[in-house]
């Protein structure tokens, strides 16, 4: 597959706005409809659960009570905090390495060609498959998870940063040359800002991957953390706790996404303004 068409395809992806759902004209009627479907769904669940009397399907109220009980207690500190800091640590490592290496690789055409097949193969490898290797080499401590997360989140960040660096319009690079900027100055002041939308797309994907990997790595090789908690709850038939854990993950995922989108909209305000105009 040609390198340039892949770059265009990834640019297509970068142009997808970060907000999860396109905002339609918000009407009162619309919002009411949205809320009512959620309420109806919850009510339906509640009724079915009470009717079924199954251990597997606790009622909404039961889940809510367990949630309240569990997560506003030391459990949060013991289970949720470790997950979060492992994830962030791994993500930061992936982001720093991915952006730095990606932008450099993207700026030097030959390097890109050289590394392309290896990169294509490594990024196609499901990062979860690496976990057993991680356990073998590092054991089941914090670092195994951090490194697995770093490995997984690294690839989309690297590839997107490289694509972003490669797609900088020739005229901007020429402008930098005309005004006598050094290679390093050009990299920092022209290439990186130009590639920022692509880099952001990579960071977004990387975050999603990091989130998945923390849960998985804790399910497979851990003695604490959210992943471990949920799986353990299922194994010990603490079903409301299991659901509660899933709900917590949903909330955390939602918060992470919101913060990311907010940050992105601030940093990339110029990009949205520009693309909105040309659409």
């Amino acid at each position: 597959m040609s390198i340039s068409t892949r770059a265009i395809a990834s640019q297509r992806q970068a142009d997808l706005p970060a907000a999860s759902i396109p905002q339609s004209t918000r009407t009162a009627k619309g919002t009411a409809l949205s809320i009512s479907t959620v309420v109806i769904a919850l009510l339906a669940w509640e009724l079915i659960a009470r009717h079924m009397h199954s251990v597997y399907v606790p009622s909404v109220t039961q889940i809510a009570i367990t949630f309240w009980h569990e997560w506003f207690s030391p459990t949060f500190k013991e289970q949720a905090i470790p997950s979060l800091y492992r994830m962030f640590f791994g993500y930061i490592i992936a982001a720093v390495c991915g952006i730095a290496l990606g932008v450099i690789i993207g700026s030097y055409r030959f390097m890109f060609r050289l590394l392309d097949p290896v990169l294509q193969y490594l990024r196609a490898t499901p990062p979860t498959a690496i976990i057993p290797v991680g356990i073998l080499l590092i054991g089941i401590g914090d670092w195994m998870k951090i490194l697995v997360i770093a490995f997984g989140a690294f690839w989309p960040i690297l590839i997107n940063s490289a694509d972003g660096a490669r797609l900088v319009p020739r005229e901007r690079l020429d402008t930098a040359k005309i005004f006598g900027l050094t290679s390093f100055e050009t990299l920092i002041r022209v290439i990186v800002p130009s590639a920022l939308p692509q880099i952001a797309a990579g960071l977004r994907t990387g975050l999603a991957i990091a989130f998945i990997l923390i849960v998985v790595s804790e399910m497979i090789g851990s003695t604490n953390g959210l992943g471990y908690y949920i799986l353990q709850a299922q194994r010990t038939f603490a079903i409301p706790e299991m659901y509660g854990g899933v709900v917590l993950l949903a909330i955390l995922g939602f918060l992470l996404n919101t913060v990311f989108v907010f940050g992105e909209s601030k940093v990339l305000a110029w990009h949205y303004g520009q693309t909105a105009r040309t659409r």
Binding site: M1, R12, S20, I21, I35, T128, A129, I212
Partner: protein, 259 residues
């Protein structure tokens, strides 16, 4: 013209890749790497053996089986709902909030839930895969539908094509670029989730094989299977890339033209 470009082989890149493998081989044999990492030659031999005697190849079938069924289900559901949500405002409003809240939940968190209801078999895996692949495709379809040039629909209406008919003949093809992009993302995620579910709680498939080999301390086959997942991922990526080009043949990217 496009055919010529396809045959352009990246010689330096492939040479570099082979070089890496050779360096890997040498360092492993010299004992510079931990004993937990065997040299590539041993890994590839194990891979060849595993395929030949059916140990690994039987698992490939199980993995691909769950993978394609899960992906197909997700596609059918996501594209349908996406088109409906994108076209009819009430449908959009109705499901909007549910989607917003369920979407950020990592699919892997659903594994324990799925185990609870469906045990450890392929059905459990398929349900998790479907869940995982569903969301990105739904969002992409939504954007694809919303990004449609209203002119296309007006032209159709002029010729008397409305309703479901219009959805099938006008909306769907126009949204196809967005859908294809989303599909390729979903396809990648689906593979990761397939391997993951097999790894965490499977009874068949490559992921399951990996964890089995790890527990049995048979390292070469374990690495062989891991390498295999990469190869699978690579091939599937290439397959869907070609599919993208052929289905959405009218876009500049498919024709190797600059955007």
């Amino acid at each position: 013209m496009a055919r010529q470009k396809l045959l352009q082989v990246n010689v330096p890149g492939i040479a570099f890749a082979i070089g890496c493998i050779i360096v890997f081989e040498i360092t492993a044999r010299l004992g510079w790497l931990t004993s937990y990492v065997p040299p590539p030659s041993i890994i590839f031999t194990a891979l060849g053996q595993g395929i030949a005697n059916g140990e690994i190849s039987s698992q490939i079938g199980a993995t691909l089986h769950s993978y394609f069924i899960g992906l197909a289900l997700a596609t059918a559901l996501a594209v349908t709902l996406g088109i409906l949500m994108g076209t009819y405002q009430p449908v959009f409003d109705a499901f909007k909030m549910i989607v917003e809240f369920m979407r950020p939940v990592p699919s892997v968190a659903m594994i324990p839930l799925a185990i609870l209801f469906l045990g450890l078999g392929p059905q459990m895996r398929i349900s998790v895969i479907t869940y995982a692949a569903f969301w990105p495709l739904l969002i992409s379809t939504l954007y694809g539908v919303r990004g449609i040039d209203p002119l296309a629909l007006d032209v159709a209406r002029n010729f008397g094509i409305t309703g479901v008919h219009a959805l099938w003949r006008v909306t769907l093809p126009s949204a196809l670029t967005g859908i294809m992009t989303g599909f390729r993302v979903s396809a990648t995620i689906a593979l990761v989730v397939t391997i993951t579910t097999e790894l965490v709680a499977g009874n068949s498939g490559i992921g399951f094989y990996i964890s089995q080999m790890e527990q049995a301390n048979r390292l070469p086959p374990m690495y062989a299977a891991i390498i295999l997942t990469g190869i699978l991922g690579f091939l599937l990526n290439a397959l869907f890339f070609q599919l993208d080009r052929r289905i959405v043949f009218w876009t500049p990217a498919a024709q190797d033209k600059p955007a």
